[in-house]
Every structure is written in structure tokens, then in C-alpha cells.
Subunit: 354 residues, 2 copies
């Protein structure tokens, strides 16, 4: 029964955010800490407190993406090399021309984003092959910028958006952060939508005033550009227009891509939620029960249940578990089947010794 | 010590694929089954054996994606409505024309894929607004086709590719499946690359023979099309060319998108692997140990270690665990802190009764 009490408390402890220090020394009702929701993040904090050296300073997942410095560098190199190349072959490019360098940058951006108006087109074998090379590398680069934009750009403006959306309610900074955390994808989507609308309006007004298009044509050119359609019957033909285009095209095409990305994510999230709900509320049969009972002791503990259901949801795989278990066996120096403080100490002394 | 033996065996049991039935009734060395690597898939098999009714017939993750019937239906509706609309406004579209219906389908495909050559352009307010509407919906539709293509198209050809790549070795069907499973993303990438090369060659030959372009121009037009750049100085201007274009443009643009998708996935996978390795081999400190020890009993069990490390890897979140624990508490009818056969029976009888 003491064992059962312990397990029951573990179950509750996992859900209970507040530790109960007054029960610490009661043998039948020990204190259970809430499993940390962001173990590494907390760890960083804890290690700082104990004065430990940190091998990293960013959240772990940041390792999965290229750094923004790298992406900026790639973009700068791409634009410099592209501008230089297309400037050198400028007599092999036909179409509406303004300033030599400006046209080269503009052509480079129009090619990189795959807008491809066709107001400037390569007209010789070398320039055509150059354009082919630049469009493929440009697509890859746009993909990198997109990943980076998904990480940054949006989150910085989210707090503002939540404030605007909840202007009728008085909410504090903590509530804003909670609200954002709970509906992360929704706010990213709304933020991208807002940014997209601003870019569409700015683009339309610019084309109407500077490029002297009528409103429908300006809007049509905006749509044709941001979707990378680029029919090319309407495009940026003045010097001022092309300077604006260089910045506006990159921002708006990335923004449209983000818009569709978050739309898909919103959809996946809602499907994922109903899948999780279905798996959780599915009637548990004896077959499930036997499959979940890993150690065949006739009962399914909380830990076994968590691992079983998370595998059923497809969140974790047998491979993940095997990898972790290999490491567990390495760490379990005294072969007791559990890790104790002595294993850690033994491990540290052997590491220091070696 | 009996407790420790049990846990140790559990640890090994998780990794040991072969059950040991002869030890079943030995109280100190019970039989431990390997945790199933695909619980639902095995479940389907088991439930069939015991004659249970199945509420589903596809793998669970299929629920996360639209069905191929839905995508085909959307594409058919899009092309029919698009063709009808652009056929009705055909006198408001200027450019190189061939056959009325054919041009409408061709314009629809060129717009949907955002190639936008500009060889046919809308020339009135209604046709321009129509094009704007069709390019946005077309982009969303291409996204859906992309998801579907990522699910299907490629996997069907993978076995062939593995055979070709291992032609010097004699390998059986089981080895092929194993090889594919281990390097899933790599084979998907190679498969897409092979398909892409075929599409580029076919497109270049077609443009050179039917549209009478010289080889460089044909290749340049192919690159300009498959990347959705579509400058439009070279495009499909004959009837035969436009019929070919309708099918070839959709396939090749999706294929290029898949190529970049798998390239990114390959890169993410290798970064993910090094991240997992880093987390697993990171020196375990006392702080980690305390964080992993959920029930504060001074030892970290195998289950606790798995949950802790998977959270550190970002594979699972506190929210996932909380959701599963809520369900665990619901199922634990006798409040013992573990699920036993009696809980299942009680649950079933109460469900049948209600």
C-alpha cells in the first residue's frame, strides 16, 4: 500500500505545480516535484546558481537551425556576387533599363525570389546559364531566410498584437505571455497576416503613386509579385520603384510563404489535437493493457502509461527509447537498474580520472 | 534487491527483442516483453487476431493529412472552375493564343503554380482580379498537392532505387525494406533528385523538338519554369506544347519543391542526430539527477530517465504528459495509482452500462 501511495502521489505530483515542502519528511507522503516543462531552460538557470560552467547559451532547438548571422552572410554574398555577375553581363540583358548597378541588384532579387517579371531577361548563352544557376541557389537561400523569419521576425511583434486584440480587457505582461504560449501558432498566423496586409497596402500605394499605375493595376501587380507569379506586364520600371522593389519583394514574398506555412501549421495543430484526444479517450482494452504493461507485473504504472500513450501518438519511437536506454545502462555504473547519487559520483570521478 | 533486479530486467527488457517464456514463472526473473515499436500498428494486428472491431484502417498519422481523394477533388474543381472562368473572359486576355479551352487550362496551370510566364496576361479589371484570386487559391492547392506527393509518389519508387543502387550486391526484399527504413529521408531525397533529372531531360528534349528552341534556350526555359521563375521570354506557344505543359509544369514544380523539402529534412536530420548525441552523452550532474528524479526517492528509474531525456530533446512537452496523466487518473477507477486488470474491467462494465 505504501508503494501504491507513492505512485499515486507521483501521478498527482506530475500535475501539481506547487511543491509541498512541509510533507518532505513524512515517509508515506513524500514531496514530489513537478517535472520541469523545459528541463534544459531551467537547468541553465540552476547551473548558473550553482556556478557551473555552461557549454551553451541558447535554447537547445536553436542548434537545429542556421544562425541569423550565417543567413545574413549568405544573403550578402549572394547579392554581391549576383550583382557583380549581372552587372558584368549587363549588355547581354535586354529590357527596360535604368541604372546599371541598380538593375543588376533588381534582376538578382527578382530572380532569387522566383518572381521573374521578364521586364529584364538574359539574352545570351552565358547570361541565361547564369540566371539558371542563380535561381536554384536563390530558392535555397529563400528557404533559409524563411526558416530564420519563422524563428524571429514574428515573435517580436506578438506582444503588441495580443495587446491590440485584448484592448478592452486589462491584462498584465504575465497574462500576455501565457496567452501567447497557449495559442502560439494562432498568434504567429495573425501576426503574419497583419504584416502581409501592411505590405500589400504599402506596395499598392507605392505602385499607384510612384509607378503611376491605377489602383486595380497596382493591386494586381502587388498580388502578381508577392505570390512570385510575376506575369511581368506590370512591374517596377522607374529607378525609385526598383530601389523600393529590392526590399519590398524579398519581405513580401517571404511573408506570403510564412502565411501559408502558419495556415498549414494551424490546420495540423487542430488535427493533431483531435488525434491526441481520440487516442486518449479510446476505450482501453485488455490488449492495450498488456501492451502497456512493460514489465509484465500485472499493473500499468504512471510512467509505463505515459511512455505507451506517447508512442501511440507517434511523439516518440522505439528508436528514441533504445538510444536513451543505452545511455542509461552506461550511466548505471553499479548495475543496480536505477541511477543513484553514487552512480553520478562514480561517473564524475572516472571522467576526471581519465 | 528484488526490486532492483526487476528494474534492471525492465531496462534490458526494453532493449531485448526476444521474449523469454521459460522464465515466466520465476518470481525473481520475470519475463519482460519488448516495448512495441509501433504500438497502434501491432494493435491492429492483435485486435484482428482476437476478432475485435477496428475503428480505423490506416496508420494513425494519416489522420493528420488530407486524403488523396480530397486533394484530387480540389484540383479537379480548381481546374474546372478556373478553365471556365478564364474561357469566359478569353477576350480580356491578351497574348499568344492557340485553342480557346486549351489556353484557359494552360493559363490556369501557369497561374496556379506561380510560373506566370506572361505570354498570356489578363487585360481588364475583372480578369486581373480573377487572376489574383486564382493565384492565392492555387498556391494553397499546390501546398496540399505537395503534402500528398511527399506521402505517396516517392515511396512507391524507392524499392526500385535501392535495387539499382545495390545492383552489385545480392539483397533480398527484407534487406531492401530495412535499408529504406534506416535511411528514409536519404532515399526520398535521391528518388526526388532522380525524378527531377528525368523531368528536366524530358522537358528540354520536348522544348527542343516541338517548340523548336535550341538546346540552351530549351534548358533555360526548363529551369525558368520548374523554379516558377517564368521570365516568359521563352514559353510554350504551340498547341502540342501547351498540352504537354499542363502536365509537365505541375509535376516538375512540385518535384523541385519536394527536392528542397527533402534537402532541408536531410540537413535537419543530421543536426537532430548530433543534438540527440550531445544530450545523451552530456555529463550527468547532480542537478540533472535531481531534476530527473521525479518522485524524489533518491534514485532515477529507467522510466524516469526516459521521460527526462526525451523532454530535454524536445520530443515531448509537459503538456503532453499532463494530458496523458489526466486520462490515467480517469482510467484508474480504484485510485490505486496503477492500472490493473480490474480497472479495465470496471471501466468496460461502466461504459457498457451507460
Amino acid at each position: 500500500m505504501a508503494e501504491n501511495d507513492t505512485k499515486q502521489s507521483l501521478v498527482l505530483g506530475l500535475l501539481d505545480p506547487s511543491p509541498q515542502p512541509n510533507q518532505k519528511n513524512d515517509p508515506t507522503r513524500r514531496r514530489y516535484r513537478r517535472c520541469r516543462s523545459a528541463p534544459l531552460a531551467n537547468l541553465v538557470h540552476l547551473e548558473k546558481n550553482v556556478g557551473g560552467a555552461l557549454p551553451y547559451s541558447e535554447p537547445t532547438y536553436a542548434k537545429l537551425h542556421p544562425s541569423s548571422t550565417q543567413v545574413t552572410l549568405f544573403l550578402a554574398v549572394y547579392l554581391c556576387v549576383g550583382t557583380l555577375c549581372f552587372f558584368l553581363v549587363k549588355h547581354q540583358i535586354k529590357g527596360k533599363k535604368t541604372n546599371g548597378i541598380l538593375d543588376a541588384v533588381y534582376f538578382c532579387v527578382v530572380t532569387m525570389t522566383t518572381v521573374g517579371y521578364g521586364d529584364l531577361v538574359p539574352n545570351s548563352v552565358p547570361s541565361k546559364l547564369l540566371a539558371c544557376a542563380f535561381v536554384f541557389t536563390g530558392m535555397a537561400l529563400c528557404g533559409l531566410i524563411l526558416i530564420k523569419a519563422a524563428d524571429y521576425l514574428v515573435e517580436k511583434q506578438e506582444i503588441l498584437l495580443v495587446k491590440v486584440l485584448h484592448v478592452h480587457k486589462k491584462i498584465g505582461p504575465t497574462d500576455i505571455l501565457k496567452e501567447i504560449e497557449a495559442n502560439k501558432v494562432k498568434y504567429k498566423f495573425l501576426m503574419t497576416l497583419a504584416l502581409l496586409l501592411v505590405l500589400i497596402i504599402v506596395g499598392t500605394i507605392f505602385l499607384a503613386t510612384v509607378e503611376k499605375l491605377d489602383l486595380v493595376d497596382a493591386f494586381y501587380c502587388v498580388c502578381s509579385t508577392i505570390t512570385t507569379l510575376g506575369y511581368g506586364d506590370k512591374s517596377f520600371s522607374t529607378e525609385a520603384g526598383r530601389v523600393f522593389a529590392i526590399f519590398w519583394i524579398v519581405t513580401s514574398t517571404i511573408c506570403v510563404a510564412l502565411f501559408f506555412l502558419y495556415l498549414a501549421e494551424l490546420n495540423t495543430e487542430s488535427r493533431q489535437r483531435s488525434l491526441v484526444k481520440w487516442i486518449l479517450t479510446r476505450r482501453m482494452t485488455i490488449v492495450d493493457f498488456e501492451a502497456a504493461d512493460l514489465d509484465d507485473d500485472g499493473v500499468v504504472s504512471a510512467d509505463e502509461f505515459i511512455i505507451y500513450k506517447l508512442k501511440e501518438m507517434g511523439k516518440i519511437s522505439q528508436e528514441d527509447i533504445s538510444l536513451v536506454m543505452d545511455e542509461f545502462k552506461n550511466l548505471d555504473i553499479d548495475q543496480s537498474g536505477t541511477l543513484s547519487a553514487s552512480d553520478i559520483t562514480l561517473g564524475q570521478s572516472s571522467q576526471t580520472g581519465s
